[in-house]
């Protein structure tokens, strides 16, 4: 019976290791890990909780119904207001205006879509900006070049 103490030692060691693993695992493996796969399930809900910045496609029409209606019957109908302005959340909080909406009058905005480019499909009207503005070579493009002729009504309803 002199060997029983060896068994006790081994058993003690085993229990110690198991306790260490179980306790260690409790602290190291985050809550909800493995609930739906090899990842922290709560991470999914953290992604969900993020607030959208862009509004729904008709969000601006709630308050700017005149402009929205004009745009809907013009060629810029497929262009979202937020593309030319900014996101809804920069302008509206809890259903009310809290900050000015960006108005971008820079020619570069129009050029993003209307600059003539090799490879740009014909479905969009394209102009060579310098030619269209009849600029002499070397002359810089004025910042608000396009809105001089294409005014706001023309832009919202081209």
């Amino acid at each position: 019976m002199e060997h029983t103490k060896h068994i006790w030692r081994a058993a003690f060691l085993l229990i110690a290791v198991l306790t260490f693993v179980i306790v260690g695992r409790h602290f190291l493996v985050p809550k909800s890990f493995g609930q739906a796969g090899y990842y922290r399930y709560d991470a999914l809900f953290e992604h969900m909780d993020k607030e959208p910045r862009h509004g729904a496609p008709d969000a601006c029409a709630d308050c700017h119904d005149d402009i929205a209606a004009a745009k809907a019957s013009g060629k810029h109908a497929p262009v979202q207001c937020e593309v030319c302005h900014d996101v809804l959340s920069s302008h509206i909080k809890d259903g009310d205006k809290f900050a000015d909406m960006r108005i971008n009058r820079n020619w570069e905005l129009c050029a993003y879509c209307h600059q003539r480019l090799v490879g740009r499909p014909a479905l969009i009207a394209q102009v060579d900006i310098r030619e269209h503005l009849e600029l002499a070579s070397g002359q810089a493009i004025p910042a608000e070049a396009c809105v001089q002729c294409h005014d706001k009504d023309a832009i919202h309803h081209p």
């Binding site: 739906a36 922290r40 992604h47 900014d86 879509c113």
Partner: protein, 266 residues
């Protein structure tokens, strides 16, 4: 000493060593193996555990993304919308546009200045360009994705809808996934130092809205569909047209499909 231990078969020290190894092995099995059991059940129950901002069942959606190259005008509205929606840092991209210009002799010129964020300048290749087109790119949300397999801490994962996401509380920023992605769609965020990528605007999807890039595309070149929604038009495109995926030879099974893609597109 030596003789005695030989006689007894296994000595005390050896026994302890073996016991320690056995316990260690068991621990590994418990830590590693336990999850697969739980996961199988959770998935089978199909989101019985519903949380989040509203009634939304992840397992009843399967999102598909379709890009029609013939409709892309390379305006960069998607890149700018993504930046605004997701706080993408300057000069990093969750989605970007490449311009392909192919000459008659077969030379291929590809450029993507600032990811197409400010659209493109008229080209100066000097070559006889015989075809040219714009190719929007983003995470392909692969079904069999290398990035998730590479993650050593379980921070990259595929959601029940098939969206590839990063758990930034768990990510250690080792960038294995950044190197492992064959499509170059991940980067290490310069301030959080964790992996960042397209989430398919997950926060918008759960609210029934479409992604920022799709919503702000002026020509409908980008489309988002749901294969689990009956009569979905975009799912119908994937089912009925000649769609192409990027790098099919890698068998990553992308959920991003290209219509009218030329063979030069990689």
């Amino acid at each position: 000493m030596c003789e005695r231990s030989e006689n007894k078969g296994v000595g005390r020290r050896d026994f302890l060593r073996l016991a320690a190894k056995g316990a260690g092995g068991m621990a590994l099995v418990m830590v590693g193996g336990g999850h697969s059991l739980v996961s199988a059940n959770a998935v089978r129950e199909g989101g019985a555990d519903r949380r989040g901002p509203m009634e939304y069942d992840p397992s009843s959606h399967r999102y598909l993304y379709v890009i029609d190259i013939d409709k892309c005008i390379g305006c960069g509205s998607c890149v700018r919308a993504c930046e605004r929606e997701n706080d993408v840092p300057k000069h990093f991209f969750r989605t970007w546009i490449e311009r392909y210009q192919v000459s008659r002799t077969g030379e291929v010129f590809v450029d993507s200045p600032n990811g197409g964020h400010d659209s493109f300048e008229p080209s100066e290749t000097g070559a006889d360009i015989s075809k040219a087109f714009f190719v929007p790119k983003l995470c392909n949300h692969c079904d069999s994705t290398p990035c998730v397999q590479l993650c050593p801490v379980g921070a990259s994962f595929v959601s029940p809808e098939g969206v590839v996401l990063v758990d930034d509380k768990r990510c250690i920023g080792c960038s294995y996934c950044v190197q492992g992605c064959p499509y170059g769609s991940r980067f290490i965020h310069p301030t959080t130092h964790t992996a960042s990528k397209c989430t398919l605007c997950y926060h918008r999807l759960v609210r029934g809205e479409t992604t920022a890039c799709v919503q702000n595309c002026p020509t409908g070149a980008r489309m988002l569909g749901d294969a689990r929604s009956l009569g979905d038009k975009v799912a119908e495109i994937v089912a009925t047209s000649k769609v192409h995926v990027l790098k099919p030879e890698l068998h990553t099974e992308p959920k991003c499909f290209y219509v009218n893609a030329s063979r030069e597109v990689r």
